[in-house]
């Protein structure tokens, strides 16, 4: 038995034939087979889902040795993806693993999207951990089914199991060359006991047919044909549409409403209030006034004619420009120590060449192309949701709390997500739809406008980070101080929280892998005046923008090549144990066990070296508007080095002709999808560094749409992103997020190389470069 530490989950090798226990209600077609590979707390697995009438196709299959996998007598293999598809390919990549171990014919595999259900284990598609945490379970699901099919065939033929092998959707008896298809065997196999993990032989690497091969997305043809179903496309008979006027300032409360003009708009049926949240925020709706009616257009028009008088509350004092100064003042004062080795103060007192710099990054919005959207159908004190959510179980919890009903009475269907980037793990919009459906007595679809999306996000936090180092005679830092301040994610879960969580400190602040005799890291307090959430790569983005830029500043102060200097700073290849250096903090390691996923400087060095080779680093002299920048960082247990090349023209306009992304994520199940993620990460990184900013005045977010919240477009994105996958025998680690952080300092460093201008405030676009 293996324990996934820190997750409260058990990845259990033992698989049970759930058909026999009648555990799943027995609605599967007679003689179906479902394999219940268990990655969930035992107590949840043991709960009979009495209230549940909705069974997955897997649960209805003839052979079902796992909750993730079932086989029907016609040979169709159903595989549940319990994680949300927002563009990473996970809906395809997890099933590949089970299908490979099953030795399935991929054309006979049907993928089913799992509803929110604790029996699937963790469904929060977040933290780049779907493969890391479910690789073993999906392998076991496929291999257990294969083992049972082989046993069933051997029994049918009356031959030893050892003479039978699985070969692409059938079992073959070697000596007689008899064959039986998986479909023909499913019913008999479904009657066998599920083997223990020890009885199941997993394929060896050279037997893999799918794992490690390029797979296009399962939904690819539907997407290009316009047939793929996103949350925006969900529809229920008799449904009303709703557009919600949210509080203009976080925490504002309705004083009075005049909906007379709104109700005159043809197609508008009614208005309804949504209660303001009660602290802490959690994922509750912020509150507001909804206009409901017959079409999206009607309710958007009605909303424009709605007059709401708000009591704005204390956050109306929030000014992002003044707040920036506060953050910077905070990092210029001593703060809470979270990592310490040696004595930086003593070393600084000795004097020497000192370098110090303060970096700032603004709030950012996720701005997925599909804004938050959900359909809810409340009836008989139960509710069914169709929504593009990253976390259907949190959606169950949030909706249940909003309606005062049981979690089991909330069914959440996950559609495809039109982007997520962390925003859609907060299901406030689904709770809004549920509350409105209950009030209206009809199914309701809540559609956020782009303006709503930008103004009422759970923002990527704004941060200031200060670095100071003193260099020894060889140019290496003999002491290094790092200090951060930013409104923490904790503020969403604990009203008034002001200090970073271990989770945030562990993302690029306390985990710098440099060999330093004297190193101190501090975190200062900051109040949140807007909802703070997590955005692709989270705190790594601002921490690594600062540290990755500072390393470049040190290299230049030392008169050294940036890449060579970075390699020296990382030092010799070794496994780094942070624990003895952490003060009052713990290193969470992205929720992964440190023995399986240690911090290994050899891997970081290697991706850097490859990036140097692939980019042609050092072959062309920088300056005159051309330059390259480099950075490297381990996040989500994956090692990434980025080299960004820039051209800055005489008007100061920045063009990025090429980015080189090198990653070591251990075993990569679907290299095609990984490549796409690292390409996209480079585009997003360049976009947010050049253009991204959410600002506030009087507590109101000032950005309204893509005219003033700029994101990368084709003419501002990197022209070419070359991705290099480094294959190692390490277990699989994150793919979706780790490509972003090093891009940001690599870009700033490239701009310095090209122009001599050091940009320490994002977005870079606000600084005149020439």
């Amino acid at each position: 038995m293996r324990r996934a530490k820190g997750l409260g989950l058990r990845a259990e090798g033992m698989i049970e034939n759930v058909t026999r226990r009648h555990f799943l209600g027995g609605v599967f077609s007679a003689g179906a087979f479902v394999l219940a590979a268990r990655v969930m707390p035992d107590e949840l697995f043991a709960q009979a889902p009495a209230a549940r009438s909705l069974l997955s196709q897997v649960e209805k299959s003839a052979l079902r040795p796992s909750i993730y996998l079932g086989i029907e007598p016609d040979g169709t293999v159903y595989i549940v993806t319990h994680r949300s598809e927002m563009g990473t390919g996970i809906r395809t990549t997890l099933p590949i693993i089970a299908a490979d171990e099953l030795d399935a014919d991929w054309s006979k595999v049907k993928i089913e999207q799992g509803i929110g259900d604790a029996r699937y284990g963790d469904q929060n598609t977040d933290g780049s951990k779907s493969i890391r945490d479910f690789y073993d379970a999906f392998r076991l699901a496929g291999a257990s089914a294969r083992t049972m099919l082989v046993s069933a065939a051997a029994a049918q033929w009356g031959v030893p199991v050892s003479e039978c092998t699985a070969r692409i959707h059938e079992v073959v008896h070697g000596p007689s060359n008899r064959r039986l298809g998986y479909g023909a065997l499913a019913t008999a196999a479904g009657k066998l006991p599920v083997p223990s993990a020890a009885q199941v032989r997993l394929k060896t690497k050279n037997e893999w047919r799918f794992i490690g091969k390029d797979f296009p997305a399962y939904d690819l043809s539907d997407i290009v044909a316009g047939k793929a179903m996103f949350g925006m496309d969900a529809k229920r008979e008799g449904m009303l549409y709703a557009s919600i006027e949210h509080p203009p300032v976080l925490g504002a409360k309705v004083r009075s409403i005049n909906d007379a003009q709104a109700l005159k708009v043809p197609g508008v049926r009614q208005t309804a209030t949504i209660d303001a949240y009660k602290p802490p925020l959690m994922f509750q709706p912020v509150g507001g006034v909804a206009v409901l009616g017959d079409s999206t257009w009607a309710v958007m028009q009605g909303r424009r004619r709605l007059t709401v008088d708000w009591d704005l509350g204390p956050n109306a004092s929030f000014e992002s420009e003044a707040f920036k100064k506060e953050l910077i003042a905070t990092v210029h004062q001593p703060q809470k120590v979270v990592r310490a080795v040696g004595n930086v103060d003593a070393e600084f007192a000795k004097g020497g060449k000192t370098v110090e710099a303060t970096y700032y990054t603004p709030l950012l919005a996720h701005a997925s192309m599909e804004p938050p959207v959900a359909v809810a159908d409340f009836r008989d004190n139960k509710v069914t949701i169709w929504a593009s959510v990253q976390n259907p179980q949190a959606t169950q919890d949030t909706v249940a709390a909003a309606l005062g009903i049981n979690k089991d009475d909330v069914t959440v269907h996950v559609t495809l997500l039109g982007g997520g980037f962390g925003r859609k793990s907060k299901p406030d919009f689904a709770a809004e739809a549920a509350v409105l459906s209950k009030k209206a007595g009809k199914p309701v679809k809540v559609v956020w406008t782009r303006e709503d999306d930008l103004k009422f996000d759970f923002y990527h936090s704004t941060a200031a980070v200060y670095h100071k180092a003193v260099l020894d005679g060889s140019g290496k830092p003999s002491a290094w101080l790092a200090r951060s301040a930013f409104p923490p994610i904790a503020s969403t879960f604990e009203h008034g929280a002001r200090y970073a969580l271990d989770l945030e400190n562990g993302m690029g602040l306390v985990d710098l892998p440099y060999e330093l005799a004297n190193h101190q890291v501090e975190n200062g307090p900051a109040n949140a005046h807007v909802r703070i959430g997590w955005f692709r790569a989270v705190a790594n983005n601002y921490h690594v923008f600062a540290s990755g830029s500072f390393v470049d500043e040190l290299a230049r102060a030392a008169g050294r090549d940036s890449l060579e200097y970075l390699l020296e700073l990382i030092g010799p290849g070794r496994v780094i144990d942070l624990k003895p250096q952490l003060k009052g903090a713990d290193y969470w390691n992205y929720g992964a066990p440190l023995d399986k996923y240690p911090i290994d400087s050899r891997r970081l060095r290697h991706v850097l070296e490859v990036a140097g080779e692939q980019s042609g680093w050092g072959k062309r002299k920088a300056g005159g508007g051309w330059g390259m920048g480099v950075s490297a960082h381990r996040s989500f247990n994956t090692y990434v080095a980025s080299v960004v090349e820039v051209e800055v023209d005489k008007t100061g306009r920045v063009r990025v002709p090429r980015v080189v992304q090198v990653f070591d994520a251990g075993l990569v199940v679907n290299p095609a999808a990984a490549k796409q993620q690292f390409e996209g990460a480079a585009v997003m990184g360049v976009g947010l560094a050049m253009l991204g900013e959410i600002s506030a005045a009087g507590g109101r977010v000032q950005q309204t749409n893509f005219n003033n919240f700029q994101v990368a477009r084709m003419n501002s994105a990197p022209v070419r992103v070359d991705v290099h996958q480094v294959d190692t025998d390490n277990p699989p680690s994150g793919i979706g997020e780790p490509g972003v952080p090093p891009i940001i300092p690599a870009l700033a460093n490239a701009i310095f190389a090209a122009t001599g201008k050091r940009v320490r405030d994002l977005p870079i676009g606000k600084t005149k470069l020439i």
Binding site: G87, P216, R450, Q677, A682, M714, N715, A717, P718, V719
Partner: protein, 153 residues
């Protein structure tokens, strides 16, 4: 007076709010949900369709302006995703989340019709009104160039 138009070849008659953008007529009334809402302000291109062969932003095109118009949406581009641009999109494995891709494809198809052999610069100019938050731009360019080069999937 109802407004008459054709959508994907079928004659249609509309007598609702003449100010309503085509986007919502397509999505809410006709159930053609392949065309997506992204910004409602003509800033992102997710809602791009063809009007008389030209790419237009359906969120900025009121119904009253469509009398006699011939509208083609992603659903009408080909019955089965077999249009060369759709095929090129699949071959280049362009989409990530896929939400913006119908708009990207409609924009690309209209552009390639008038500019069959575009330069990179022309592609950038033509496509920069279409945002992809996943960042698939280089594959979009690759797919468009493969069509321009006569490449069929």
């Amino acid at each position: 007076m109802p407004i008459t138009l054709t959508v994907n070849g079928s004659p249609r008659s509309f007598d609702g709010d003449p100010e309503m953008p085509l986007l919502w007529y397509l999505r809410d009334e006709l159930g053609l949900t392949g065309t997506k809402y992204g910004c409602g302000a003509g800033l992102c291109g997710s809602c791009t369709v063809h009007r008389d062969g030209n790419a237009v932003r359906s969120c900025q095109t009121p119904m009253k302006a469509l009398a006699g118009g011939q509208i083609i949406t992603i659903e009408g581009l080909s019955p089965d995703g077999s249009h060369p641009v759709q095929q090129a999109w699949m071959k280049a494995n362009v989409p990530q989340c896929g939400y913006c891709q119908a708009g990207q494809i409609m924009q690309a198809v209209a552009f390639l019709r008038t500019t069959p052999k575009p330069s990179d610069q022309q592609i950038d100019t033509a496509m920069s009104g279409n945002i992809c938050r996943c960042g698939t731009y280089q594959r979009i360019r690759e797919a468009m160039k493969s069509v321009a080069d006569g490449g069929r999937a």
